[in-house]
């Protein structure tokens, strides 16, 4: 058996979930549709993070009830091998898509603003080897990398906010409730797709996390930290741009660093900040992809995670390439992923949580 799960502690797991929540929370946003009507994303981000935390806590409780050490085991225990596998497949797909979305936004930002003379495909191909190396190295290495990149991730967040801060204006937040309450509910639902994947991924890799308590601790701490970071950045975005202006940008986070006039030293920190985001995003994508591969191995009783991981990395990269295709069908598909992606995760998790609530605790 070669699942390359290894052992990692609370710090590493919290960092992995935190960076996942931060990166997904910021970069897995459908800029065009979300901001076209108004700016409520920061509020929806906070609400989505809290709601995700609640759902994940319920999932943790379900795992405790079934005495399962990981999510794969919980699915198999709760629904049996066939139904469990069937319910797990949407989770795998959701994680693969969640891994692809931030990479898609990074690649797009680099193509539009950094490597304007290069094509999209070579840019994406640069990400492939690192992603493959990370996934093949296993969860232990991914978790350690998350811990190493916590500081660069925080530096990227702070640098981005500091560079944009001269352009902050509270007037940009208005009209305050522009999209309306129903839109807020919709956006909160969409935000679940940003904050559920890191928690779900850690639950899948729960066996390596040295105990269920550590897994839950990692999920809650990471989600709170990452959610707070994502909220701050969305608030920063809201303070920098009027919502309709933001909807027209392909990379609002990169553009916000250029919104204010800068002098000398701070002039080009935005480019460096972008590459810090890219490095952090690669680890997050590897975290999701590895978790998806591990889940697939658990559900289908495959003993070696590496071929499955390599296959899913190719799928992630394929999705990143596909997302950029200039066709109405692809655009609709991408929009659908942004809007309905959370259903892929809720479809298997919902029944699990409900079942655990109804079932009595195992002796």
């Amino acid at each position: 058996m070669n699942l390359r799960l290894g052992r990692f502690g609370l710090q590493e797991s919290a960092c992995a979930v935190g960076l996942g929540a931060l990166i997904s929370g910021i970069f897995a946003v459908d800029v065009r549709d979300t901001f076209a009507q108004g700016n409520l994303c920061y509020a929806a981000t906070a609400a989505g993070a809290l709601l995700s935390l609640l759902l994940l806590m319920l999932l943790g409780r379900a795992m405790a009830r079934f005495q399962a050490e990981d999510l794969g085991g919980l699915l198999l225990d709760g629904f049996g091998p066939v139904r469990g596998a069937a319910l797990g497949l949407p989770l795998v797909l959701g994680l693969v898509l969640a891994a692809g979305l931030p990479l898609f936004r990074f690649s797009l930002a680099m193509e539009r603003y950094i490597f304007v003379e290069a094509d999209y495909v070579p840019i994406v191909l640069y990400l492939l080897p690192v992603l493959l190396l990370l996934v093949l190295s296993g969860m232990e290495t991914v978790a350690r990398m998350a811990k190493i990149l916590l500081i660069p991730g925080a530096v990227a967040l702070i640098t981005t906010l500091l560079l944009a801060s001269p352009a902050f204006d509270s007037a940009h937040l208005f009209p305050l409730f522009s999209p309306g309450f129903s839109a807020f509910i919709d956006q909160t639902g969409e935000a679940l797709f940003r904050f559920l994947p890191p928690g779900v991924a850690l639950f899948i890799a729960g066996r390596g996390c040295q105990g269920r308590a550590n897994t839950l601790g990692g999920v809650s701490r990471g989600l709170l930290l990452g959610g707070a970071g994502a909220f701050l950045l969305h608030l920063g975005l809201g303070l920098t741009f009027f919502a309709p202006d933001m909807a027209s940008l392909s990379a609002p986070v990169y553009c916000m660093t250029m919104a204010a006039r800068q002098e000398r030293m701070a002039l080009r920190l935005d480019v460096l900040a972008l590459f810090l985001w890219v490095a952090t995003g690669l680890v997050v994508a590897a975290f999701y992809t590895y978790a998806a591969a591990l889940l697939l191995c658990r559900l289908l009783d495959v003993k070696d995670v590496r071929p499955v991981g390599a296959l899913l990395v190719l799928q992630v990269v394929g999705a990143v390439l596909l997302f950029n295709f200039d066709s109405d069908m692809i655009l609709d598909l991408v929009r659908c992923v942004y809007r309905q992606g959370h259903l892929l995760l809720l479809l298997p998790l919902g029944p699990l949580v409900v079942r655990s609530l109804l079932q009595r605790r195992r002796p």
Partner: protein
């Protein structure tokens, strides 16, 4: 061994994917400033100020900071770049461009967006590049920026920042802020306005002196032949006039960008020189058609011994004059359709959605707004208690 081979294979993969369009830095001509104006035979003339150090010269040990100017008339920026490609020793790079200059004619025609839309990001021109409007021929203006030895081209850009911070006579605008002002009705652009020394300049729409006036001084004859002369007032995408440095300062007082400056206060048939210091951001609000702005300032007399008045008199006179002038400038710019005081940013807070904001047509109703300016002045030293004592 296999692991090493695998790692090497992974390393090779991006290399096989090819370079991401890398060109060595000495194979570029760097465009420092880009100007656009009306062409003689084509719609636009594009003027490029190039860093001569990097223009492919084969001579070693030349002076640093040398600049040269090239221009091309074309329908678009890309066409102009193509037209110049054969005439330049190296490829043009806009990655170091820090100034975009537009001629007054182009600004008045509202064609700034048409010229720049979409092209700038593809050329790696950054969103925070500085934007100015220039009076007269751009080639003449750019010629005024070229001097030997000292990189005086940077001086104008530095001056924009210095005049904003030390005098409040211009406001430093970037491309992003300009686009935001053009696209939304939440405030209009007030771009720096520059011209050739001794050349013709547009009169101030708010009245006052008709001569080139900045920093309370006449432009003198110096090394730099192109200098700032106030602000270009925009209504939406169109330039509708010019505000002198002192009137720009009044706008900045109400907008919140003012830090320190000078004021010539009419006083018993003469003029008093006052130094102004901001005492914090103005308190701005919007109440059903009324724009309320409370400004707090500290005032210092530049020649206290020459003033024969009590502190109270002086404070009252300063407050009254500033209030009147602010209201006058507000009404004049509003009449021109320009929301340079950015009242829209306050008014939008009262709306519940972007649709209702757009539907209200705020720009068209600018003249209906009732401005209320409350200026509160604190005198640092009384006329009879000069600072030196």
């Amino acid at each position: 061994m296999k692991r090493a081979a695998f790692a090497a294979l992974l390393l090779l993969l991006p290399l096989l994917a090819g370079c991401l369009g890398g060109v060595p830095l000495d194979k570029y001509c760097y465009v420092l400033d880009l100007g656009v104006e009306r062409g003689d035979s084509m719609p636009y003339r594009f003027v490029f100020l190039l860093n001569e150090d990097t223009a492919g010269s084969e001579e070693e040990g030349g002076d640093k900071g040398q600049v040269s100017m090239v221009s091309a008339e074309e329908r678009s920026l890309f066409a102009a770049i193509d037209a110049l490609a054969g005439a330049l020793p190296a490829q043009l790079s806009f990655e170091r461009t820090t100034l975009l200059a537009f001629s007054r004619e182009l600004a008045e025609a509202g064609e700034i967006v048409t010229v720049t839309d979409g092209a700038l990001s593809r050329l790696k021109i950054r969103q925070n590049v500085r934007v100015i409007v220039v009076e007269g021929d751009l080639r003449d203006a750019f010629q005024g920026l070229v001097s030997e030895g000292d990189p005086s081209m940077n001086r104008l850009k530095t001056n924009v920042r210095l005049f904003e911070e030390n005098y409040g006579y211009v406001e430093d605008w970037g491309l992003h802020a300009m686009r935001e002002a053009f696209a939304n009705e939440t405030g209009d652009a007030l771009l720096p306005y520059a011209g050739r020394v001794g050349g013709p300049l547009q009169p101030d729409i708010a009245g006052g002196q008709v001569y080139p006036y900045l920093g309370g001084k006449l432009l003198g004859e110096g090394q730099i032949k192109t200098s700032l002369a106030g602000s270009a007032v925009f209504a939406g995408e169109r330039m509708v006039g010019v505000l002198s440095g002192q009137h720009t300062m009044l706008v900045l007082l109400a907008k919140g960008g003012f830090r320190a400056g000078h004021l010539r206060l009419p006083w018993k048939g003469e003029e008093l020189d006052l130094a102004l210091y901001s005492l914090g951001k103005p308190c701005r609000s919007w109440e059903e058609g009324t724009f309320i702005c409370e400004i707090r300032l500290e005032v210092d007399l530049e020649n206290p011994s020459q003033v024969d008045a009590s502190s109270e008199e002086l404070i009252a006179a300063t407050e009254a004059w500033l209030t009147d002038e602010l209201e006058r400038v507000f009404r004049i710019t509003a009449a021109a359709g320009a929301d340079v005081f950015e009242v829209g940013r306050e008014a939008i807070c009262a709306f519940r959605s972007w649709d209702s904001w757009r539907a209200c047509g705020f720009s068209a109703r600018l003249q209906e707004i009732r401005p209320v300016f409350r200026v509160q002045v604190k005198l640092s030293h009384s006329p009879r208690d000069p600072a030196l004592e």
